[in-house]
């Protein structure tokens, strides 16, 4: 941390409130947020969706949506109130002092101009002439570690990968050497290994450029790894603030405590303990809350909390909490009170697998434009167990799920079997028994639930089709399913848009369980949800599994989620299985270099963003895959020409842990900390 007393803070918010006008009503989005950023400091602003964290950035730059306005307080950049700037001064501020990087770089770049043109523009505003501006633009691309910058200059945005686009946007932001850089969810939507690359880049560049950074994210791990100080936003209020390590180690606001406990940490497993959750829901924007906003969900709330809005309490060492009981948060009991299922599923090592895939391949298109989405994938899943399927975009995870569900037909030659019986490639050729045995929970409940149907109809139709029930029996079953996913009959007449994200996903889960399935494909079941909601859904899935002996094929890019629920893990890359084995063996190692990279890419809240192994370069395209080992173009452990010419064998050890690598097992990486809970 830098000394804050000498010069005015680079950014200072004094009691800033922002409202949006909606249907003639002023809806407060931020209320009295105060924070300040010293020179060279990195400040993390963390919050769940709807907390108002992005609004902070928009307000600072005066680009709020047309229905938004600052209703109180001041935002000062380098000591100057941005509200008082006239048009020229505002443009000056944007041109020189403040830079911004948003989520979704693909949309932040103008699709009809070359990268060079868009980047040179920044230098032209600062006074460079055409040739000079282009030269400096190219130099700037080099500074964000883009190899072959001259070629990238000629490209249009759509010709670059997502990670590359975000580098360009960052280059554009840093080109003016700003005193303040605002990053708003800069890595959301990028793959884990690319995200790690970008975060590393930001970490390096902050030292090179010395800009102060306001880093806005929902990702606690990313914040912990990058920031000096952190502020926690809840329902438009800054509830806690302080230096990042101490704050995450010993939070002093119940919301922060809940947020941290929700995360599936290493060592936590479904059969050991449930995840903590935060009960209830955040208040609807604009609702009038007497007292503390968090009180309705807080385990410590008492009469004071419900009537008196807590003041900001300075706790010393730069820490601030907005809680009446900040000194008692350590005594918060763990929320989840689920009794652990008494009997764990027995090991069915020799029984019939519920699912067996043999040599499954899927090719889209025809040569020379064929894309091999799946190559020769063989997997087994035992009843009542979870197989975690991990991979980045283009790895074939979704293709595998869709083939399994009969939505796309795999190439001839492969075999799918459910409970030992062959599974036809198309749904309509499958026996009703098989259809009911195999169901799915999709990633995004907004897409997966028909928005014109009520909950009763959504679940009821599935009960009719999959459970074969009608009339009163059907109603009874719908009620039972609602109870199983912790919803009540009150929700029966609701349509999806009237439910919260977590409730919608519960409806989707209930629907999948309508016919007592033996295998449910969970396709990124929590990635559209906030962490506090995610924990509750993961608990629900674990409970249902223990009660009903259902097997899961869990597709996820989040290793924390996979670790919590899986008994076995498979790693896919460009449609090829690189590693498969019992969960503990895959997580502890020896790892395939790609698995190792994935594991170290995931930032942890303890703040040690282990720099052990990083990948460079984009994920290759499936149209033109690398020769030899598919991973060799990005592999940090590549050791010889054999990697480029010969596909490695898939060798399993006695525990059934198979790795596809030319390196001998003893030379492969292992987890440094496979610590128990």
């Amino acid at each position: 941390m830098t000394d804050l007393t000498v010069s005015p803070p680079v950014l200072e918010l004094r009691d800033v409130s922002v409202c949006y006008r909606m249907r003639g009503r002023a809806v407060p989005v931020l209320s009295r947020v105060s924070l300040s950023l010293g020179k060279g400091e990195v400040y993390g602003l963390v919050g769940e969706s709807g907390s108002g964290k992005s609004t902070v950035a928009l307000a600072v730059q005066r680009v709020l949506p047309s229905n938004g306005y600052v209703s109180g307080g001041q935002a000062l950049v380098n000591g100057r109130d941005v509200a008082t700037l006239d048009r020229a001064a505002l443009r000056q501020m944007r041109a020189r002092d403040v830079a911004m990087v948003f989520q979704d770089p693909g949309r932040a770049l103008n699709p009809s101009l070359t990268i060079g043109r868009q980047l040179a523009e920044v230098f032209e505003i600062l006074g460079s002439a055409g040739g000079e501006a282009l030269r400096r633009a190219e130099a700037m691309l080099e500074r964000v570690r883009i190899s072959a910058p001259a070629r990238v200059m000629e490209r249009y945005p759509h010709q670059l990968s997502g990670g590359m686009q975000q580098r360009v946007v960052i280059a554009m932001a840093l080109a003016k050497d700003p005193s303040l850089l605002i990053l708003d969810e800069p890595t959301t939507g990028l793959d884990a290994t690319i995200e790690a690359e970008i975060l590393d880049l930001v970490d390096t560049l902050r030292r090179e450029f010395g800009a102060s950074i306001l880093f806005i994210s929902h990702n606690l791990g990313a914040i912990a790894g990058l920031c000096d100080r952190v502020g926690v936003l809840y329902a438009g209020r800054l509830v806690e603030e302080g230096p990042v390590r101490p704050l995450f180690r010993a939070p002093r606001h119940p919301y922060t405590v809940g947020l941290l406990r929700c995360l599936p940490r290493p060592g936590l497993r479904k059969n050991l303990a449930p995840l903590d959750t935060i009960p209830g829901f955040p208040p609807a924007p604009g609702s009038i809350v007497a007292g503390c906003v968090f009180a309705p969900r807080c385990g410590l709330a008492d009469e004071t909390c419900r009537t008196v809005d807590p003041p900001q309490v300075a706790l010393g060492e730069g820490r601030v909490s907005r809680c009446h009981h900040h000194d008692r948060v350590g005594s918060l009991v763990h929320e989840a009170v689920r009794a652990m299922p008494a009997a764990q599923p027995a090991e069915h090592a020799n029984g019939t697998p519920v699912l067996e895939l043999a040599s499954l391949s899927k090719t889209y298109g025809t040569a020379p434009y064929a894309v091999h989405a799946l190559r020769d994938v063989s997997l087994r899943l035992m009843p009542g167990q979870t197989l975690g399927l991990v991979g980045e975009s283009g790895s074939g995870k979704s293709t595998l799920a869709h083939a399994l569900l009969g939505l796309i037909a795999p190439d001839a030659g492969g075999r799918m079997a459910l409970d030992g019986a062959v599974l036809a490639p198309e749904v309509r050729r499958r026996a009703p028994e098989q259809i009911k045995t195999l169901q799915i929970v999709f990633q995004n409940p907004d897409s997966a639930l028909n928005r014109s149907h009520t909950v009763r109809r959504l679940i009821g139709r599935a009960v009719t089709r999959l459970g074969g029930l009608a009339g009163a029996l059907r109603e009874a079953q719908v009620t039972r399913l609602l109870e199983a996913v912790r919803l009540t009959a009150r929700q029966l007449t609701a349509r999806p848009r009237q439910l919260s994200g977590g409730m919608k996903q519960r409806v989707a889960v209930a629907r999948a369980f309508a016919g007592n399935p033996r295998l449910v494909v969970c396709d990124e079941p929590t990635s559209a949800l906030d962490v506090s909601v995610q924990a509750a859904i993961l608990n629900l899935l674990a409970e249902l599994q223990a009660e009903r002996q259902v097997a899961y094929l869990l597709i996820s890019h989040d290793l924390g989620v996979v670790r919590y629920l899986s008994d076995a893990i498979a790693v896919l890359y460009l449609g090829r299985l690189l590693e498969v084995g019992p969960a503990a063996n895959v997580l502890d190692g020896p790892h395939h270099p790609y698995t190792e990279a994935l594991l170290s890419a995931a930032p942890s809240v303890t703040g040690e963003r282990s720099g052990r192994i990083r990948l460079t370069g984009a994920i290759p395209s499936g149209i033109n895959p690398p020769s030899g080992c598919l991973f060799h173009t990005r592999c940090p452990r590549r050791f010889g020409p054999i990697c480029e010419t010969e596909e490695p064998p898939f060798v399993a050890d006695s525990a059934g842990h198979a790795i596809r690598c030319h390196l001998p097992r003893e030379k492969l990486g292992r987890s440094m900390a496979a610590l128990p809970a």
């Binding site: 443009r91 020189r96 699709p111």
Partner: protein, 321 residues
């Protein structure tokens, strides 16, 4: 990448030819098969059956339809569009001169409406939600839905009958210069321009609003660029591209409107030719005229597609389509 572009052009061209062929089948079906017995349709229900048979033979309508179709298409390929029953002369020269006249009128329409329509759309988007936007939107909406014959009558009353500023007839005296021709074309062009104005303004406004709200525009504003530069370099470029296709599609509409306007103003264009042929049941003329209109539309949409592809780097450099 070049190869991909070339392939796209070829594919698009092949599709257009396919559409053209299907169009010829549809038009042929409408003019030769649907009426059942062309001579009966021409001579009326009371005519002597022998006269009907004789006329059918003369028209060549007594042959199997496939034969008639093949000889028609064969003729078209050699520039022979058949014989007009009403004029007792070859069809082709009529089509040729009528098409030239209609193109002059259409050019006039577009010269009036494209700049005004795009200008109004851009202006409305820049003042989105403000009174000027409402005025442009409401005016555009109301004008678009007024049939040409309705607005023609209003315009004729005001400009030709009351004020006598513009000539009532669209046909200029033979040998007139360009200026006189233009003067004669203004009045007939206005009703079509009025109909098209609202449409073009609306599409332009939509494109502009989208581009103004786009993330890349916010990026440009946050670069500290002057608003003028943001607008010209980042917004207009992306907003106006889709408008090209819209304008091209409206060409086809304008040709339909010509039927009404040309007959109202007694102008010898393709529209009045088609209408005259329809009234006279001159099927050879009718099918040639309709095919010409359709073919013209197909060519303009093809041209617009190719132009959009050339101007849009996302399409030009292959990949997403």
């Amino acid at each position: 990448m070049r190869g991909a572009l070339g392939r796209f052009f070829l594919k698009r061209l092949a599709l257009s030819l396919l559409t053209l062929w299907l169009l010829s089948v549809v038009v042929f079906f409408g003019c030769q098969v649907l009426p059942g017995d062309p001579a009966r349709a021409i001579l009326g229900p009371l005519a002597d059956p022998r006269a009907v048979a004789a006329l059918n033979q003369k028209l060549g309508a007594d042959r199997p339809p496939v034969d008639i179709y093949l000889s028609w298409v064969g003729g078209l390929l050699t520039g022979d569009m058949g014989q007009s029953y009403a004029y007792r002369a070859p069809v082709a020269p009529f089509i040729g001169s009528a098409l030239v006249n209609s193109l002059k009128l259409a050019a006039m329409v577009f010269a009036i409406v494209v700049p005004i329509g795009i200008g109004a759309g851009v202006l409305a988007a820049l003042r989105a939600g403000r009174p000027l936007d409402r005025v442009i939107s409401v005016a555009g909406l109301s004008l678009t839905v007024i049939p040409e014959f309705v607005s023609s009558i209003a315009l004729i009353l005001v400009f030709a009958v009351l004020l006598r500023w513009l000539p009532l007839s669209a046909s200029w005296p033979p040998g007139s210069g360009a200026l006189v021709q233009i003067q004669h074309l203004i009045l007939p062009a206005l009703p079509l321009a009025i109909v098209l104005f609202g449409y073009i303004a609306r599409m332009t406004r939509a494109g502009m609003v989208e581009a103004l709200a786009a993330d890349y525009t916010r990026t440009a504003v946050l670069k500290g660029l002057p608003w003028r530069t943001v607008l010209s370099r980042h917004v207009l470029r992306n907003a106006l591209l889709p408008t090209i296709t819209v304008i091209a599609a409206q060409m086809g509409y304008a040709l339909g409107g010509l039927v009404v306007v040309e007959s109202l103003f007694r102008y010898q264009g393709i529209g009045s030719l088609v209408l005259g042929a329809a009234r006279a049941k001159d099927f050879a003329m009718l099918q040639a005229g309709i095919l010409t209109v359709g073919a013209f539309f197909i060519v303009t949409t093809l041209a617009a597609d190719l132009l959009t592809t050339l101007l849009d780097p996302r399409l030009r450099t292959g990949g997403r389509r």
